[in-house]
């Protein structure tokens, strides 16, 4: 007889999302993940939110440079040029 792990719960699934997206789940866990997702709209929405979050982060321009920091660095560059 083959040992079967029980199906994932939603609470377990949300903790595996990063490993899933990073391709770090073992084949068996990936199958459990996929089969839970297939039957659970809530977890599908969760995964979609996570993907949308990551995509949005990729569009962020990080906070702008403080003017003093920039002024100082540009001065250093001019010094270096000489």
């Amino acid at each position: 007889m083959r040992l079967r792990k029980p199906p994932l719960t939603c609470r377990e699934l949300v903790e595996l999302v990063t490993d899933y997206l990073e391709g770090a789940l073992r084949a068996r866990d990936r199958r459990r993940f996929d089969s839970h997702i297939a039957g659970c709209a809530g977890c599908r929405a969760y995964l979609a939110q996570m993907r949308a979050t990551i995509d949005t982060l990729g569009e962020l321009s990080e906070e702008t440079l403080a003017p003093e920091a920039k002024r100082e660095l540009m001065e250093r560059f001019r010094d270096w040029k000489r």
Partner: protein, 223 residues
Amino acid sequence: MRRRGAASSTVAAPRAEESELLARLRAGDERAFEELVKANHPTMVKVAELFVPSRSVAEEVAQEAWVGVLQGLDGFEGRSSLKTWMFRILTNRAKTRGERERRTLPMSALDQPDLEGAGAAVAEDRFHPAADPVRGNLWTQPPRPPDEATIAAEGHERLLAAIEGLRPAQRTVITLRDVQGWDSDSVCDLLEVSAANQRVLLHRARSTVRREFERYLEEGNGG
């Protein structure tokens, strides 16, 4: 998907583009330097913060690192990408400074991410109690799928604030991976952290930022 492309193009920046940038820098093109600073300085400060006791020291270290970058520019041979090389200069300076400041390296936070704000990805009350024989550990109020609509600038501010509120190691990992688009290997190399620990930090960070994202959607924005 965008992720893969972004990850490989940012760190291992297209060689042609990079050598053009190098040529401009070496020729003393201020615009080129300004672009490089804008794109990297805030991240360099975040990374430096992992090794030194305060944001203001981290700012100093990043400034010093730029001087080191300029000094090394003519001798840079391009064996690694410009970015990898720049950030290595940064972490070397930050480590030296951290030791001088006689602080225990907060890097231990990277070695043992479990110490960094352990917690569930999603609030406890979003799931039925484990003891519930039918719905145990399933959603009470399931999340709603996000709209395709892009998030407004105000939403961007919220996510940046959420990142800012993270512990330093989580903040650095999510910034490098998701904001700057570095791949996992480059982040592990730079921070000298195992792939598994990097994933734990990324998971905690993303889970927190997603919560803020959901809150933003639930307020009726972008949905």
